[in-house]
Amino acid sequence: MTVGYGAAIRDGFEHLMVKYPKVFTIGQGLWSPWYVGNSMTDLDRQFGRERVIDTPVSELACTGAALGAALSGYRPIMIHPRVDFMLLAVDQLVTQAAKWRFMFGGQVAVPVTVRAIINRGGEQGAQHSQALHAWFAHIPGLRVVMPATAADARDLLIASVLCDDPVLYLDDRWLYGVEEELGPPVELDLRQLGPRVVRAGDRITLVGAGYTAYLCRQAADQLHAAGVESEVVDLRVLNPLDHRVVAESVRKTGHLLVVDGDWSTCGLAGEVIAGVVERVEPVALRARPVRITLPDAPAPTSGPLERMYYPTVDALVHRALRLVGVQEDAG
């Protein structure tokens, strides 16, 4: 049956909590989850408030507590309704959880999953719109997952929680309504997962993650209509990042356009470009690689500026056509 991205996340929670008694979830808003859209509705009623714990406004301690429970035999899922709020917990996520196993010589596993929601737009402004997945992909020891489809939203959540390493799972509020046909949940080994070609093409490689992977697929349809066959790579797992799939694609297409819903400098788009040119001989590139990212500014609130701020399918299509050297008709 067709299920939306948000509902699919809830299916993932349900699968995990029904089957694994050691899984619990903790975070702000879980007893009235308007914060998290329809992705956790009534989990507290279904599984009880001992396993679905709403918390005080204490991001750092709650994240540390999730880590502590993970060291004690549980598989907690720590919820941050916004990436912005999670920044108060960076010490526990980056300096503690991500390094814990290493600091103790690999003697302990740290099966904690931190889920944060990227929730842009809605005139919320600079402090409720940060994505920053590039930050966390930068940290050895922290796996970073970013689903772009309903199936991945559900199955990558399951894979994250079943993984014995700390995982940051970043879902995107702008995808909650996107529906697709879903089979039953599957349990995948996160260590085996990575970037995937979600549409084959030979003229240009489009790369995105999460919401921007969704944009790339839409752009690919329009490009097809314009006679340009693009290959779309959905990165899915940002850390550890496997560059081979994209590199392979670019060897074929010679054109690379990377789209990211985060800032440019030291961001994901630049990383993908660097990873490709490290691997692909310059001669194989038919043009300079291009990245489309957020402008170098915090998120504005004013509607008109907000509409200019985020990448759009049209912008992708125009840029892609220019890149492959196709003239657009003035119409």
């Binding site: 808003g29 709403d54 918390t55 005080p56 406004v57 919320q124 402004g125 402090q127 500026l305 701020y309």
Partner: protein, 356 residues
């Protein structure tokens, strides 16, 4: 406030008692002796805030305002009581629910309406919306929605005021939920150890989003934190503008005279949902029963009744104040609707200070 914290009775530290009982304190306020001119002004300001918030709520409901608005309806008194003691040079900081703080200080209605509409004429030039308000002229140095974030910033403004040595102070407005952020405690300790002129004003409305304080903390009064950090504190009925103003006056006198920080817990209640215009009486512990009762503790009606009883105000004048307020709010709204949006260049021009 002069009293050392440690002569308080311990139970005082933890229990709101009657102040948390929605059925209490519904009567007309007891007016202070002497000239009540300022109370007429306080009444006008509270009415203006109420009227502005009600219009904003309606416009959110109609979809004309799209940015998240956290309304202060029912919480008008503390802002007005604090504003009375503010002098030029003082610096105040708020959070996500700060329309009342802005208006009580004298902030322009048009600036507020334009800001929630994202217009270039807004208090923050349309770049911040409801949750980011600035009014340097009246001392409002910034409000932001990251819970607790402006508390240490206010402490820094207090440090600056102490270095200036001109009797200025900083005011930090925050809610009960913010006391759960570690930075709140770090900030109180810092202000205490440096003896900074900082006034910590906690509007305890019993809720953080959907959660009642009983589900978040082991006691419902937050003055115990001030006590722990050795900051003299006072707790008042935050819907009693007279009592609140009295407590503010004492605290501010101590702060300006170099005695270090002070802490005020003003107990109040929000009539609308955490965000937006709905009443959300389906959310949280006993909100359904309590909301109606809390409306009986209306800070505006209680002051108005007292002034009417005292003959300091007539029914007609009261009506006029409401009409005037609604008119001013309408006018500001209509005007703001016509205002321009920020130019596209602002997106990149506001990030750094530009070279000349």
């Amino acid at each position: 406030m002069g009293v050392r914290p440690d002569v308080r009775r311990p139970t005082e530290l933890t229990q709101l008692g009657d102040l948390a009982d929605a059925t209490q304190f519904h009567d007309a306020l007891t007016l202070p002796p002497g000239d009540n001119g300022w109370l007429l002004d306080a009444l006008r300001r509270m009415i203006l805030i109420r009227a502005a918030e009600e219009l904003i709520g309606d416009m959110v409901a109609e979809g004309k305002i799209r940015c998240p608005c956290h309304l202060a309806i029912g919480q008008e008194a503390p802002a007005v009581a604090v504003a009375r003691e503010i002098r030029r040079g003082d610096r105040l900081f708020g959070a996500h629910r700060s329309h009342a703080h802005y208006l009580a200080l004298g902030g322009s209605l048009r600036g507020l309406m334009a800001e929630v509409l994202g217009k270039a004429t807004g208090a923050s030039r349309g770049m911040g919306g409801s949750m980011h308000l600035l009014d340097l002229e009246h001392g409002l140095y910034g409000t932001v929605p990251i819970v607790g974030a402006t508390i240490p910033i206010a402490v820094g403004a207090g440090l600056a005021a102490k270095m200036d040595g001109a009797g200025g102070m900083a005011v930090s407005y925050f809610g009960d939920g913010a006391t759960e952020e570690g930075v709140f405690h770090e900030s109180l300790n810092l202000a205490a150890i440096l003896r900074l002129p900082v006034f910590f004003v906690c509007e305890n409305n019993l809720f953080s989003s959907h959660l009642h304080i009983q589900l978040r903390q082991p006691a419902d009064s937050v003055v115990r934190y001030a006590e722990a950090h050795r900051i003299p504190w006072e707790r008042v009925d935050g819907n009693d503008v007279v009592a609140t103003a009295r407590a503010v006056e004492t605290a501010v006198m101590a702060i300006r005279s170099g005695q270090g920080p002070r802490f005020l817990e003003a107990v109040t209640y929000r009539w609308r949902g955490h965000v937006g215009p709905r009443e959300d009486d389906d959310v949280g512990v006993k909100r359904k029963e309590d909301l109606a009762k809390w409306k009986g503790r209306d800070p505006i009606r209680r002051l108005a009744d007292a002034l009417l009883d005292a003959g300091a105000l007539s029914e007609a004048e009261l009506e006029a104040s409401w009409a005037q307020a609604r008119g001013a709010v309408e006018k500001a709204w209509e005007g703001a609707l016509e205002d321009p949006f920020p130019p596209a260049e602002d997106l990149l021009n506001c990030v750094y200070v530009r070279g000349q």
